[in-house]
Every structure is written in structure tokens, then in C-alpha cells.
């Protein structure tokens, strides 16, 4: 056997029209009031022939592909890989297939992927938008294509989104450092205007302000380019130390920044938490193995993945639905890198 079997083959084998076969195989026998026996014969024949419906033809006819696109920055980043897995599982519950793609924070790649997926007739998108891709999102919106942003969003753009409560998470993490006794706290972020990063910075600044610890005119923040190296992070740390020689703690804004940062600290031979206390946004398997297990912000990956799918599917089935904007709380996991075992999880 080589040629694929179609509805027509079944119709011929049974001796009925393709319409009947279609009705039966889609369980619309009652609506179409198909005979009970003939329905069974059709079913049996389909099974015998090993019939597998052609979803492409189905989609072309119905205008629904039961498919959506998930565009992330990089599927090999554990944050996105885990998110993707949760999205995959949730989508499956609704009988949706997800097409993954990595845009590498590049608006050009992002646009290419959106085009590619649109041409494949995805019913909607879940996107962790790259910087400077706001116009792409707006274009999708204008074309009335269902979508939900994830991890990041654009201020003032009316869309669905599902994100971690970045501001509060950062605020809490920095407040924890303060509570534990640190007064001179720096922050390392990467260069971007994306809201999630701005919110993390804002959380950092406000926490300091509220504790009367923001004295200098310029906050103790350094940013590195998106494709930073360990050396870049090391340079940033050193620059902070120059800016404020009393710096005793650093808040890292992402898991990748932290990973490079820890290597840089090892390289510089600064001990955690004695020479420098650490707290970081997002997690990594590696944090468990650092000699001073890290205190970190655990993002709600499972809930984010699930909600994103649910919101998208709601939007697909009801294109006029109002926007859903979710900012989900994280959890601060307190361990040893801030220099205190006594503080408890809040």
C-alpha cells in the first residue's frame, strides 16, 4: 500500500456517496440521519483501509487549521523550553497542534516567522515578542488574527497577554536583600525596551526608594547587549563596583545573565554571599549546584503556559472577546546566596 486512502475510496468500497462517509466519520450521523447499519459499515471499512483524514483538505474547507504558532526567543533556553512544553500539553487537551519557532530577539526573524505561520493558516499566535516588533503585532491585530503575548507585552497596546508580575517580583526580591541587611545593591540587566525588563528595573528602583536606599542620581544598574558574553557581565559587575565601592549585593535580571555572572564571580574570586550577595530572576537547574545555592524568583511557568493557551482558544472561538491581561505572581525561593538562612519564604 502506498497511495493514501481518501474518503472517496471508502465511498466506492461501500457503495455510497462521499457525503455520507464524511458525515459518519465526523459523527454527524444524527444530524444527517444516516442509517445505523450503513454507518457501521462505513466505519468498519474506514478502519480496514486504514483511513487517515487529510487535515489540510479539512482545514482548507473549514477555514480552521486547529493549529497555532508559538514564537519564542530561543527554544533551547530552558525558560522557553519549559514554557513550550506546558503550552504543548495544554494545547493537546484542546486538540490543537502547536508550531514552535525561535526568533532570537530579532524583529526580522520574527516577521519572517509570522509570515510563514500565517501562510500555514494557523488559527492564532502565542508570541514572546522581540524588541521592535510592536508593528508586527499591530498588523496581526488589525487583521483580526487571535493572539496572546507571553512573557513580555507592549505598553498601551490592546492585546491579550500573560506574564509574570515582573514589577512585584523584582520589588520583592530586592526587598528581601534589604531585609537581610544589604544597603548597596546593584542590578545587571540586558539592554532592551521590552516591558518585562523595564518592569524589573522599576521594581528594583522602587524597592530601594521605599527603603530610602536610593541616594545616587544614577541608579546602580548596568546593562549588557542581548548577546552578551561572560566577559561582558564581568565588566558590568566591575563597573558597578567602581560606581559604588560599597556594593555588597547584585540582582540579576535573567537566568542567562546569572549563569554568566556566577562564572564571572568565580573568575574574579568573589565569594557568595560574603563578598557579594546574589538574587536572580528566573531559575536554572545549575543554581542548585552552586556552592551557595541561589535565592531566586520562580516564575509561574505552568500557569503561564496553560493560561496563554486557554486565552488564545477563547479568542479563537470568539473573535470579539475582550482582552485578557494576566500578570501572575511568582514565588521568591530563599536559600543561601543572600547571606541569611533565617529569612523565610514570603
Amino acid at each position: 500500500m502506498n497511495k493514501k486512502v481518501s474518503i472517496k475510496d471508502i465511498a466506492q468500497a461501500v457503495g455510497v456517496s462521499t457525503a455520507l462517509v464524511s458525515y459518519v466519520l465526523n459523527n454527524k450521523e444524527k444530524e444527517a440521519r444516516v442509517g445505523k447499519e450503513i454507518a457501521q459499515v462505513i466505519r468498519d471499512t474506514a478502519a480496514d483501509l486504514g483511513y487517515q483524514p487529510n487535515q489540510l483538505a479539512k482545514s482548507l474547507k473549514t477555514g480552521k487549521s486547529h493549529t497555532f504558532g508559538l514564537i519564542v526567543a530561543d527554544i533551547s533556553n530552558p525558560f522557553f523550553a519549559n514554557l513550550a512544553r506546558n503550552v504543548e500539553d495544554e494545547a493537546q487537551k484542546f486538540n490543537y497542534t502547536v508550531l514552535f519557532a525561535s526568533a532570537d530577539e530579532s524583529p526580522k526573524k520574527s516577521q519572517n516567522l509570522i509570515n510563514m505561520l500565517t501562510e500555514r493558516q494557523v488559527d492564532g499566535f502565542i508570541i514572546a515578542p522581540a524588541e521592535n516588533s510592536q508593528n508586527q503585532i499591530e498588523a496581526l491585530l488589525k487583521n483580526n488574527i487571535p493572539l496572546v503575548l507571553i512573557d513580555r507585552y507592549f505598553k498601551g497596546l490592546e492585546t491579550n497577554y500573560v506574564v509574570t508580575n515582573n514589577y512585584e517580583s523584582a520589588y520583592n526580591a530586592v526587598s528581601h536583600l534589604i531585609k537581610v541587611g544589604h544597603k548597596h545593591i546593584g542590578m545587571i540587566a540586558y539592554k532592551t525596551d521590552l516591558v518585562h525588563m523595564l518592569e524589573r528595573k522599576r521594581g528594583y528602583i522602587e524597592a530601594l526608594k521605599d527603603h530610602k536606599l536610593l541616594k545616587a542620581k544614577t541608579p546602580l544598574i548596568k546593562t549588557v547587549d542581548f548577546d552578551f558574553t561572560q566577559d561582558d557581565v564581568e565588566a558590568a559587575i566591575k563597573a558597578l563596583k567602581v560606581q559604588n565601592p560599597k556594593m555588597e549585593a547584585v540582582f540579576f535580571a535573567t537566568n542567562t545573565l546569572t549563569l554568566k555572572g556566577l562564572k564571572a564571580l568565580n573568575n574574579m574570586n568573589w565569594k557568595v554571599p560574603d563578598d557579594i550577595a546574589i538574587v536572580c530572576f528566573d531559575e536554572s537547574e545549575a543554581f542548585d549546584f552552586f556552592y551557595s545555592p541561589l535565592t531566586y524568583i520562580e516564575q509561574p511557568l505552568l500557569e503561564m503556559g496553560r493560561k496563554a493557551v486557554q486565552v488564545l482558544i477563547k479568542n479563537i472561538s470568539d473573535k470579539k472577546s475582550t482582552h485578557t491581561q494576566l500578570s501572575i505572581p511568582s514565588k521568591l525561593i530563599v536559600r543561601q546566596s543572600c547571606g541569611s538562612d533565617k529569612a523565610e519564604v514570603r
Copy 2:
């Protein structure tokens, strides 16, 4: 604008047949000898209207979806996530889109995913096959569907595959332990009949044999179930130690086993490499941060991903092509967990 623009809309706007539009937009003007001016008008109009071809319709007509399925055990496992990324990038070079899916080592899930992807008319598959899924692979083969196995394969099954040279890699790693002076070496694997694991075990055994270190009738190997916990691994390590109280080194067969294993060792308070030397198959970001940086086998992820795509695409374009079976060398990255800094990378 809401309704999608089709080739028909362009044809009407320009005042030609849809055939012409199709030829021009597919750059087949010379074959069809379309007029130069009219071709330009068609192109301009297409651009003006924001035309995006419907790939589904195209695929339905041509019988090629320019799509393939990638089925792995779990996309959130860094090994597969990295592999997936390399596959994605390589596929894109050939203008292919990849549909990812996770089968969780379950033959039932695997079959569901294969069906789903087949119905979506993928042109081929790249599969890290689950245990007991051999019949599924055979079915695909019988239906003449292009496919390449990755990471694992089935002995005696005539298919394309691209894997790490598991036997040699394991052999080298264990030989390294021996060279460094260890005589009583255990191995922790997970329970499966999949070839990659059998090969790793065989490499371990042969290395010991060749060095006259395999004395006991039963080799010093313990296996845990696929969904093992840290406690399972700890129990396995202890059992090995009971079996041979002189055990001084352990070879872990995967990255996940190693991660749980290291936590178990910490929990038991065994020091690496003094109480126990370690070498492991596959890598993890975490290994860099363990107090005794791990010696590990670095798998050729980039080459595996690339080759798999290339072999698949060759098979798609030439269904009669002979099978390509690649076993790619790994690299042993020597660091401190085996108890010697002197040994160099081989």
C-alpha cells in the same frame, strides 16, 4: 480588511486568469512565457493587496507540505531542546517548517503523535523513538514515509539514523576512569531496551573487560525506572556500594541521572572525587557549578541536528535513496570529577 486575499482577487484586479497569477507568483513566467509588463503588474498588485499564499491549498494540490515532524521524549529536557533548536535552524535553510512534539517515552503517545502529524501531511519524520515503538516505525516505513531516527534506533531495522557513537563514547569515558587509577567502577542507567542505552552499557563493560577489571559475574550496574526520583538514584548508588564496598567511581548514563545523582551524593555527604569519582554521559549547564566540575561526554548536538535534517530531506526528495546510518563521535571533556587534573582531553 479582514477577508484574506486570494489569487482570484489578484486575477480580478488585474484582469487576467488565476493561472497567470500563479505562474508569476511562483516565478514560472519564462516556462509559461508570461508577458513582462503584465507580470510586473501582477506582482505589484499582489504586494498592494498584501497577498499571502495559502500553503494549505498549495500543499493539497502539490502533495508536499514542506513540513516535517520532530518527535522527541521531552522538549523541556535540555538535550532535546538543544537538538530541536539545531533541527529548526537547519530545516529553515531548506525552507522547511518543523512540528515538534513530546512523546514522554510512551508508545501510546508516540503513536498518537505520529497519527496526528501524518494527518497533517508532514513530508517526513525525525524521531527519537520511544521504547516499544518499533512497530510504529515499521508501519511508517511500509507506507514509504521518509524518516530518520535520532539519538536511538532499533537493531536490525533498516532505517536512516543519526546517533552519538554510544558504545565508543562510553568505552572512552570508562577507560578514562581506569587510566586515572580507578578499579572499582559502577554504572547507573535507566531501564530500557533502547539501543543507545544498551550500547552505553556495553561500552562500560567492554572497557572493564579490556582492562581485566571485570571480575564479578554480575557487572556493577543498577538501573532505575524512566521516571526516577532522586531517592531512586540514591538507592541505586547505595545498592552498588553494597554489591562492591570498594566502589570508588560511578559512570552515569544520562544528564538527568547525573543531576539527581549529584544531589543524592550531596545528601549522602559523599565527596567528589575523593569518596567517589564521577563521569557522565551528556552535559548540563549545572555541571560547571558543581564544586568539582564534572568530566562528561559532550554529544555532537549540532552535527546530529544538521545531519538528521539533511538525511531526511534527501530521503524526501529521493524516496528510493539508500539508508544513511551515522554514528557521530562525541568528545570527552575532562575536568575534575575523576580525581585527576593531569589527564588531557583525548
